[in-house]
């Protein structure tokens, strides 16, 4: 019977703070500091969960964060690990994955079906007949999974911190404490983390706490040593970047060096019913007793294969456990003094024997012990029953090495002490203590200090590290703790309910290397990621293959060390939103915003309904004057002796010939000749250009510029002015009347021609002005310092009030440019469109000596397969209107798509652009397949649709032919 032990010094629970909680509907008491498992055991509850596949009863096994069969459900969480999660007052817990509760789980019948369900059975079943598979799959999905998520749970996010240190020590047992203290005493900034609530590691589980107390006293006096309990070093990433999972949130720690002192996982033996509640690792029983004051059992048998087993027997006996026997897989005489000590303590020892099976209905009641033959096999004829309610296994260990593996450590198998040990560590990564194969307590302390010396030497903080004490010369892990019983239920992986025969069968079916064995059988793929199963799986496979353990190898260790909650990984929700200086004004004037990358831009200005508002905005620009905020455009200044050459090489047009005080269209293609960006390039000086980019391309194009300066080795510098300067475009026939009174720049045709660029002041603010015409009216783009932009904007609005000035949004601008046939990169072009496809051959100067994409464009000039054409729906078009990306159909095949479409208030017609097969470029009509697979006809018309001569943006030149 499990029970609470009398109060003892050093325990982790606070008996002055009782708590109440419920489990499976019954109320229990606990003390602050109890884990769920320890509290339940203290209440005499030993069946704590059901297994994943067969729904077998399971209890405490490791009490060390790999009891995957003790996962719990609460009102707000699931897959709660009972063996390490502290009880909170008022918790309401149930076991996961049961049907009708833990005791009466209707899933129990699966255990009886287990002979029908050998490894991999689902690959061989349910697929015939094909039509029934969805039914079976549905059944499988009903049984799949562990705990249940509630989709009404609130969003949880924990803040993140960053940490920096010279040395991270993972694990605060004797070697880790020694390493951290040694390094900190030499002046290094040290972080020490341990997943347990307190430091000390296995020192906490011994009667003699002297060494622990000494080390903790030294630890406490070191201001440059940060100790984090309850903290998991969840993985190792390049350059010693280690996420620390704390109860408060994730810490991204960048260390200069890492010492792994994570110790070992005690390993189970494989025998019949080794999963019965009451069968556990000896370390679990000690941990429960010393830390939580809980006796896991009344009378125990100890299965032994190392000297620790004898020490554990003596420790537990001192705590009041009736040790019925030690069953030693080896010769007890070789244990020397320890053997004598247990004998004098009155403990029976069965040498060269094993536990052949555990007995009991749902709870351990007895074990069957058999002598071993010369080959280490159990001799059933020697069977002997020993009643007990605890079977405690001390048969070996596996290193807690995932962090070492992730860092790239090469591990080799050492027969003595019988585990994988580091052979070659990457720079800045060190290991000490039991993970390094050092077991003797004094040696572990010395190994930690030596590892600290090596780490300090690596950090150039100390030379001449101390010598390592050397690995254990005792065998700590039995080479073959596997005693198959012909009746089965010899479990290897408790997470996944895998038995020895499953692994044997998998190997026999061809999955006989360790990675394939894992994938076919799922060994090691459960929540504990094989911490108690992988080593035995390797041993079993090695024996089946008649190979050494080293040659058999291990599976790849990947992050995370323990699973990490999404709330830790996600962190706080930070979504950058960029706003132009006029954002508040837009909002106050009824703007409806739309996202443009990280920016928010006015789509249109209410309160009028969308279509009506957009139409009014368009007409304002066409007939009066309009104002749009274009601050989101990318803006780059280009300086240097090679600036002109740089611009020529970056863009398709010849920009070196742009005269000072003038602008030119700038089109960029990538190396494949695909259009990627466009803008306007102005020239301020011989070696000084200013170029705009699209809103979405701003960051990428600036990066590309920086890269190409280096690649082409030019004397050029680029300055990203996107955020420093705000810009607005005032356009419409009444523009001059509004703008001229506010500026010292002469806006007359003679002084400021179309495509001109000028510097001056607007509303008293230094400004750059460009006379450009994206919307097809007389207009000026005004760039001013962001801090004064709102002032300029408001001045323009005020000055334009009498002229009916109207702000306009992105949708009106799209409509206006469509009427002019101007394309939008990324909408009217796609990831394959060349300028020739886009009907922009005029924007490519192939006679330049070199520019980005030239070679591709030389080829594509003759071959471009598509052409962007304008179309117009007949005036009396009655049918459905095409939408963007509806297909153009020719001869029943796809011949293009609509890229832009809109109703032109100016033309009183639907107009659009379509990217079509070149062969259709000169067709009179296009067939467009619209909603409902209806085909409609559209007339192909030249662009611009509106003001084809461009007279409106250059009214003074009326009558001349534009270039």
């Amino acid at each position: 019977m499990a029970r609470r032990l009398p109060l003892r010094d050093g325990e982790w629970i606070d008996r002055g703070r009782p708590l109440r909680f419920t489990f499976e509907g019954r109320e229990y008491s606990a003390f602050a500091g109890d884990t769920i498992s320890s509290a339940l055991l203290a209440n005499g509850v030993r069946v704590l969960g059901r297994s994943f596949k067969y729904h077998r009863p399971r209890g405490v096994f490791s009490a060390a964060n790999h009891d995957s069969n003790v996962l719990l459900q609460s009102d707000s969480d699931f897959n709660i690990r009972g063996d390490v999660t502290a009880v909170a007052d008022g918790m309401r817990l149930t076991a996961i994955n049961t049907q009708g509760g833990l005791d009466k789980d209707r899933g129990r019948f699966m255990d009886r079906l287990s002979p029908l369900l050998p490894v991999g059975f689902y690959y061989k079943t349910f697929h015939r007949p094909k039509a029934l598979f969805p039914f079976w799959e549905n059944q499988i999905r009903k049984r799949a999974g562990l705990g249940r998520i509630d989709t009404q749970w609130p969003e949880l996010r924990l803040p993140k911190r960053h940490g920096f240190c010279d040395l991270l020590v993972v694990g605060a047992g004797p070697s880790g404490l020694s390493a951290a203290i040694t390094a900190a005493e030499s002046g290094a900034r040290v972080w020490l983390v341990d997943e347990n609530a307190r430091a000390g590691g296995s020192l906490n589980d011994r009667q003699d706490g002297t060494l622990r107390d000494q080390l903790l006293a030294r630890l406490a006096g070191l201001p440059n040593l940060t100790f984090l309990p309850d903290t998991v070093a969840a993985g190792w990433y390049a350059d010693h970047y280690v996420p620390l999972v704390t109860p408060e949130g994730l810490i991204r720690l960048r260390a200069r060096a890492v010492i792994v002192a994570g110790g070992v996982y005690e390993q189970p033996a494989v025998f019949r019913n080794n999963d019965l509640p009451g069968v556990m690792l000896a370390s679990a029983a000690l941990r429960l007793a010393r830390r939580y004051g809980v006796a896991a059992c009344e009378s125990a048998v100890i299965l032994a294969a190392n000297n620790d087993a004898y020490r554990n027997a003596l420790e537990l006996k001192a705590l009041g456990t009736d040790i019925k026997a030690i069953v030693d897989l080896d010769d007890p005489e070789a244990r020397g003094d320890l053997h004598d000590a247990v004998k004098s303590a009155g403990i029976a020892v069965h040498g060269r024997s094993t536990v052949y099976s555990a007995e009991g209905e749902g709870l351990l009641a007895a074990v069957t012990v058999c002598a071993l033959d010369a080959e280490g096999r159990a001799k059933p004829e020697t069977a002997q029953r020993i009643d007990c309610d605890g079977l405690l296994m001390s048969v070996g260990y596996a290193p807690a090495a995932p962090i070492l593996y992730q860092a790239g450590t090469r591990m080799v198998f050492a027969e003595i002490p019988g585990q994988f040990v580091p052979e070659q560590l990457p720079p800045g990564v060190f290991a000490c203590g039991r993970v390094n194969g050092v077991f003797d307590l004094d040696a572990r302390v010395a190994d930690g200090a030596a590892a600290a010396g090596e780490a300090l030497a690596h950090l150039d903080m100390q030379t001449g590290p101390a010598a390592r004490p050397g690995r254990s010369s005792e065998r700590m892990s039995h080479p073959w703790p596997v005693f198959p019983h012909p009746k089965g239920k010899n479990f290897v992986d408790l997470d996944e309910d895998l038995q020895l025969k499953d692994l044997e069968r998998a190997a026999a079916e061809g999955f006989d290397n360790i990675e394939l064995l894992k994938r076919y059988s799922t060994v090691g793929m459960g929540p504990s990621q094989g911490k108690h199963a992988n080593m035995n799986a390797v041993r079993i496979l090695a024996r089946l293959n008649n190979q050494s353990i080293g040659a058999t190898g291990t599976t790849t260790a990947r992050p995370f060390y323990h699973p990490v909650p999404i709330k830790h990984l996600a962190g706080r929700r930070l979504r950058p939103e960029r706003r132009t200086p006029m954002h508040g004004w837009h909002r106050d004037h009824g703007a409806v915003f739309m996202p443009a990358g990280h920016w928010q831009r006015p789509k249109y200005y209410g309160p009028a309904p969308e279509a009506e508002a957009i139409r009014a905005e368009v007409m304002a620009v066409r007939e009066g004057v309009g104002l749009i905020d274009v601050s989101t455009l990318g803006k780059v200044e280009v300086f240097g002796p090679d600036a002109a050459r740089f611009m020529d090489q970056l863009y398709t047009l010849k920009l070196s010939t742009v005269k000072q005080g003038m602008t030119r269209y700038a089109l960029m293609v990538d190396e494949a000749g695909v259009v990627i960006d466009d803008g306007v390039c102005a020239r301020w000086g011989e070696e000084h250009f200013y170029v705009s980019t699209t809103t979405t391309g701003a960051e990428a194009i600036f990066r590309q510029m920086q890269r190409m300066i280096g690649e082409w080795n030019l004397k050029v510098d680029v300055v990203n002015r996107t955020s420093q300067l705000a810009s607005m475009n005032i356009a419409g026939p009444l523009t001059r009347e509004v703008l001229q009174p506010l500026t010292d720049v002469d806006l007359s045709q003679a002084a400021f021609p179309f495509l001109g660029a000028r510097q001056g002041r607007v509303a008293g603010v230094p400004a750059w002005l460009f006379r450009v015409g994206f919307v097809g009216e007389l207009g000026f783009e005004i760039h001013v310092p962001a801090a004064q932009a709102l002032h300029v904007w408001e001045a323009l609005v005020e000055a334009g009030e009498s002229k009916g000035i109207r702000p306009f949004g992105v949708e009106a601008q799209r409509q206006l440019r469509l009427e002019k046939g101007h394309l939008i990169v990324g909408q009217d072009t796609d990831g394959t469109s060349s300028p020739f496809d886009a009907n922009m051959a005029w924007a490519v100067k192939l006679d330049k000596p070199f520019f980005q994409g030239k070679r591709s464009l030389q080829i594509l000039k003759e071959r471009a397969a598509n052409r962007l054409v304008g179309f117009r729906l007949p005036g009396n078009h009655p049918g459905p209107i095409p939408r963007e990306c509806h297909l153009v159909i020719h001869d029943d095949d796809i011949a293009g798509r609509v890229t832009s479409i809109g109703y032109s208030p100016s033309l009183k017609a639907w107009v659009g652009l379509a990217m079509v097969d070149k062969a259709l470029a000169d067709a009179a009509q296009l067939s467009i397949r619209v909603e409902g697979a209806v085909i409609i006809q559209a007339d192909v018309v030249p662009t611009p649709f509106y003001d084809p001569e461009g007279l409106r943006q250059k009214p003074e030149t009326a009558g001349e032919v534009s270039a």
Partner: protein, 412 residues
């Protein structure tokens, strides 16, 4: 309860081996396939089954299916953008649908429906484009509105926490998930049964080419004579093509993925968001299988990064806010061969007898059956199969790129 299970009640005997371990390499083979992943094993299977070519060796430096076959997120779909892509992947989906029957092995081919979410007007346009092209070729694919999505995935926050709400989606009903390893094992077993030799832990170190013609393959276990070599690897493509004296425009980016601890199934569909860089489905073990965009930098490595899993977790909570207490159990990476036009490289090459099947980027798993089948045909006939003609290596010399990049986004 299917009868197949009852058989187990009477016999504990294992089934026959899926694949044998051949004693050693023979002196010569008719065809040598480099790479024992899904593609290589599928090609071996179809060579043997459809063309009677069984004197074949598959050489695998690690273990069967240990590369990207075992690292992908198991999604199969055919809602591509270009006619070439749509036809090719549609054939792959059709082959997948019958694979369990062909193999007599349950590959858990599970049609769950595939939503590609659109959060911007631009994305909505692309979805419509894909849907229109798909429908033209008879693929079940349509643009759906928020209400339709809400009905199918009621627990998803369509407002995504505030910014970039879902505007609609491309819905592809045949979108499926498959047990990826089983696909490789099924092909491997079928090939093995027909006489193909699968050599694991056998590394190719050189390819012998005499006067523009393949004559043999060098391995760490000896030299083999053969007139036909097919490179069907990923990540190592540049290393193998270099041995044959061929260059490709492939660059390698890592692609990462992760899984959570198992939970009771609540998500039946496949959800993809290019804008949020998320794709997710829930496996029949109850794990959420999640991925994001390619790593931005060129890198020949399968290392994992913390940024990846942090970013993914952050965006997942925008779609599924209740997942905070779910735990990510394991993360990993594969190496994606990226081509300039986001389409594969398949077929004959300038070296006589050297065939290539590469450049599979992030879409290789879903092409496993059709790649194997068309490559087997190509090798058997020494002529590029019609479905793969657009994907020939020579297209880069001729500058005849495939337009799949036209809708470049997270493509899963």
């Amino acid at each position: 309860m299917p009868l197949r299970l009852l058989k187990n009640a009477f016999s504990d005997a294992p089934d026959p081996r899926f694949f044998n371990t051949p004693r050693g390499l023979r002196d010569s083979y008719d065809v040598v396939i480099i790479g024992g992943g899904g593609h290589g094993l599928a090609c071996a299977y179809y060579l043997a089954r459809d063309h009677g070519i069984t004197n074949v060796a598959v050489l695998e430096q690690g273990y069967i299916g240990g590369g990207n076959t075992g690292r992908n997120t198991t999604i199969v779909r055919s809602n591509y953008l270009t006619p070439e892509g749509v036809k090719f992947y549609d054939e792959s989906v059709r082959l997948f649908q019958d694979l369990a029957e062909d193999f007599d092995l349950n590959i858990f081919y599970s049609e769950r429906g595939h939503f590609t979410l659109a959060h911007t007007d631009a994305a909505m346009r692309t979805m419509r484009w894909r849907a229109e092209v798909n429908k033209h070729f008879g693929i079940d694919s349509e643009v759906v509105d928020r209400d339709t999505i809400a009905e199918a995935v009621p627990m998803m926050d369509l407002d995504c926490g505030g910014e970039h709400p879902v505007l609609g989606a491309l819905y592809h009903a045949p979108g499926a998930v498959v047990r990826h390893d089983a696909v490789a094992w099924g092909y491997g077993r079928g090939a093995d049964k027909r006489g193909v030799e699968i050599h694991q832990k056998t590394r190719v170190t050189g390819i012998r080419v005499v006067q523009g013609k393949v004559t043999g393959v060098e391995t760490d276990r000896g030299v083999i004579k053969t007139g036909k070599v097919i490179s069907m690897v990923a990540g190592s493509t540049p290393r193998v093509t270099k041995m044959a004296g061929i260059t490709t425009p492939i660059v390698i980016h890592p692609l990462q993925a992760c899984v959570t601890e198992p939970m009771k199934p609540w998500l039946d569909t496949i959800i993809v968001s290019g804008s949020l860089h998320v794709y997710v489905s829930q496996s029949s073990r109850g794990e959420l299988v999640m991925g994001a965009a390619l790593d931005p930098a060129i890198l020949h490595s399968t290392r994992s990064t913390l940024d990846f899993v942090e970013g993914l977790a952050d965006q997942m909570l925008d779609l599924f806010p209740f997942l905070g207490n779910s735990k990510v159990m394991r993360q990993w990476a594969g190496m994606a061969d990226m081509t300039p036009d986001f389409a594969p490289i398949m077929g004959r090459t300038a070296v006589d007898g050297f065939y290539i099947d590469a450049g599979w980027g992030t879409w290789g798993f879903k092409a496993t059956p059709v790649s194997g089948k068309t490559m087997a045909w190509t090798v058997a006939n020494d002529k590029d199969h019609a479905l793969i003609e657009p994907f020939s290596l020579a297209r880069f010399d001729r500058f005849e790129l495939v337009g799949e990049r036209g809708a470049a986004s997270v493509g899963h």
